[in-house]
Symmetry: C2
Subunit: 390 residues, 2 copies
């Protein structure tokens, strides 16, 4: 008998990936322009030209044995140093290169962190709505995901959080800007979360999963967890900010203000080994050092958001105002997310049913797509809305 | 309390990685030319120029959104197709793209495979000497590694193998050309292994870990496991054949002749998800499709091997004749591998004590180094040998 947990995971796939595959098939059938694929967070904005130029420069002017060689398991020193320096400059922290561990992207950042922290039976708290793979990652690491409810604006329900904290709580995951709602948790919310965490008898670690850190619309400041709490770990990826999702490059930053900083970092090194990561891709590690502080042109996402908010509101759809990331979390008109997503498919609109995000009755729309596709899709949204009024 | 297994793993590091880090430090102290680093399998031969040209071409002429975007979890279809076609042509098998799962390198190929196969308490058999991380990977997947002894020529002791097979055996790992001995298992050996495996009441999977498949000196043929056994899985990496160890690119090929092929493949998809792999790096996936059948100029390794065999034999060292890979597994003159490796350090020779390979009294020498370094190192080897004669 094979490992049935993983066989089952492989058969069901994530709902997002499944729809992504359906979309590829459907586009082949009726033409890419006729499918309105809002399913996956694959950035639609190209990487900045600096990425192309830096890659070419690295490939043309670096000894290939060095360029493509193993780095240290935690990542190349100068790359880690450049990341620590950037974080120190932006957030007034005092990290060193040895606080940074380079990873194969955000999912790897999370699995490595969770495998460093968790023992069998530990609980990890996440605020709904949350990225469905959190559950998979926690369970693989021997833990249990404990969801905490949100209010109508998708902000954490702190009373529920207080109730869910227990002697078994090992970690809390914060994801802001949030996938799938796009909302941001303000400083007051983070302070209250930290206060409650500090009330636990045992050490509780706060993991900030923040691949959307740079995707914020307007003058909103996102609190940086290390400024609020010692036992904190930041999981980051360049997938969204530099439009490199397929290249699998990100990092874990461990707060050196944590009393047990060295234990945490050692656990991360060990977990990376046990999971088979060896080192993050070397060319893209070096690219990151050469593109510090750069982002893709993220203004398209804001324009997409504004256009969709205006039109979908007009058509009668309901959702919370997203201040970041590139998602709208839309309420199903009849409360049934699965049926909503299925009905949307009839209009060639690919939306992810949100039940797997721990929040029933919503679908996720990823608007990291071309503005042209949005324009082409608007009549379909109108017809979808109308179909509920008949 | 953090996960102590992983904290400990992170603190002790692998003996190879530890020596690699020592080497980096020592080179900074006394100059790179004065340290003779035979510790790690980081190819010394550059990637073929075709790699450089293909990378540049891909970067210059592919839409960056597509080039750096997510691929399907199992890898880009055309990349998988090109790998299946290549294997079919070389080994007379009939694989399809859907037998291939792209990975972040050989370690990932192994961890994903083991997590697909193993349940808590399962046993995995490996023939000594073996890559020490096998134990780490098996244990993370809930299994136990069961070592099988070898004979004086580092070939599997089949009597011991017959004894170690049990009702708990889930998988057998074959690694040929072998790290660390460089020996190759011939067709007769593979046939006998398969025969014994078939004698088990339960299904037993044979995993062929073959990153050194292309590194063979002379007219020796390496048996391809799928030609001998249905329930077989090939774990491959381009680290050695294309000199891309830092880029983390490889694949798993599942034999579609296995009765439970679809279950195995689903388990692999699920395990990849649970471990946080998402997809293999997209640029390097596409590179692989563009460089099918290419290898680095591997002739340097043969020249290195021949030179070292001649000189080290003359100095009085003993080892089995390596027919592949780029390692010599040298007998410690007084039987103490740790002391041998420590003594070698005094002569600035970095050799890995082999006890962690499951075979006491040997050190591993990686000769994927420049011929010039070998020439500079020879007097140090001579002095090391002499030091044992005093």
């Amino acid at each position: 008998m094979l490992n049935q947990t993983n066989v089952k995971l492989g058969k069901v796939r994530s709902s997002i990936r499944e729809l992504f595959e359906y979309g590829k098939k459907r586009k082949a059938e009726i033409g890419a322009d006729n499918v309105f694929d809002f399913s996956i967070g694959n950035p639609s904005v190209p990487a900045p030209d600096k990425v192309r130029r830096t890659l070419i420069d690295l490939i043309e002017n670096t000894d290939p044995v060095e360029l493509h060689g193993y780095t240290s398991a935690q990542g190349d020193y100068s790359v880690r140093k450049s990341i620590a320096d950037e974080l120190n400059g932006r957030f007034s922290v005092r990290l060193t290169a040895d606080c940074i561990y380079m990873t194969c992207g955000a999912s790897a950042s999370l699995t490595v962190t969770l495998n460093a922290l968790l023992n069998e039976g530990d609980e990890v708290i996440a605020f709904v709505p949350f990225f469905p793979e959190y559950k998979v990652f926690c369970e693989h690491a021997g833990g249990t995901l404990v969801p905490v409810a949100c209010d109508g604006a998708f902000q954490p329900d702190l009373n529920d959080f207080a109730k869910k904290l227990s002697g078994r709580t090992k970690a809390v995951i914060i994801n802001s800007p949030n996938n799938p709602s796009g909302v941001i948790y303000g400083a007051e919310t983070v302070k209250k979360i930290v206060e409650l965490v500090k009330g636990c008898a045992q050490p509780v670690y706060v993991i900030s999963d923040e691949p959307y850190r740079e995707l914020v619309f307007g003058e909103i400041e996102i609190p940086f967890i290390m400024n609020y709490y010692g036992r904190s770990i930041v999981c980051y990826s360049y997938s969204k900010s530099l439009s490199l999702p397929g290249e699998r490059i990100g990092y874990i930053a461990v707060n050196n203000a944590a009393e047990d900083f060295e234990e945490i970092y050692a656990g991360i090194l060990g977990a990376g080994r046990a999971l088979g990561f060896v080192c993050a891709p070397s060319l893209f590690q070096r690219l990151i050092a050469g593109c510090a502080g750069q982002t893709s042109d993220l203004s398209v996402y804001k324009a997409n958001r504004d256009r969709l908010i205006t039109c979908l509101t007009e058509y009668g759809f309901e959702f919370a105002q997203p201040d970041g990331a590139f998602y709208l979390f839309i309420k199903s008109p009849d409360g049934d997310a699965q049926a909503f997503a299925e009905r949307a498919k009839k209009y060639e609109l690919l939306l992810v049913a949100g039940d797997s995000f721990g929040c029933n009755g919503y679908v996720r729309l990823s608007y990291c797509v071309s503005p042209e596709m949005i324009e082409r899709a608007l009549p379909a949204f109108k017809r979808l809305a109308d179909s509920y009024e008949r």
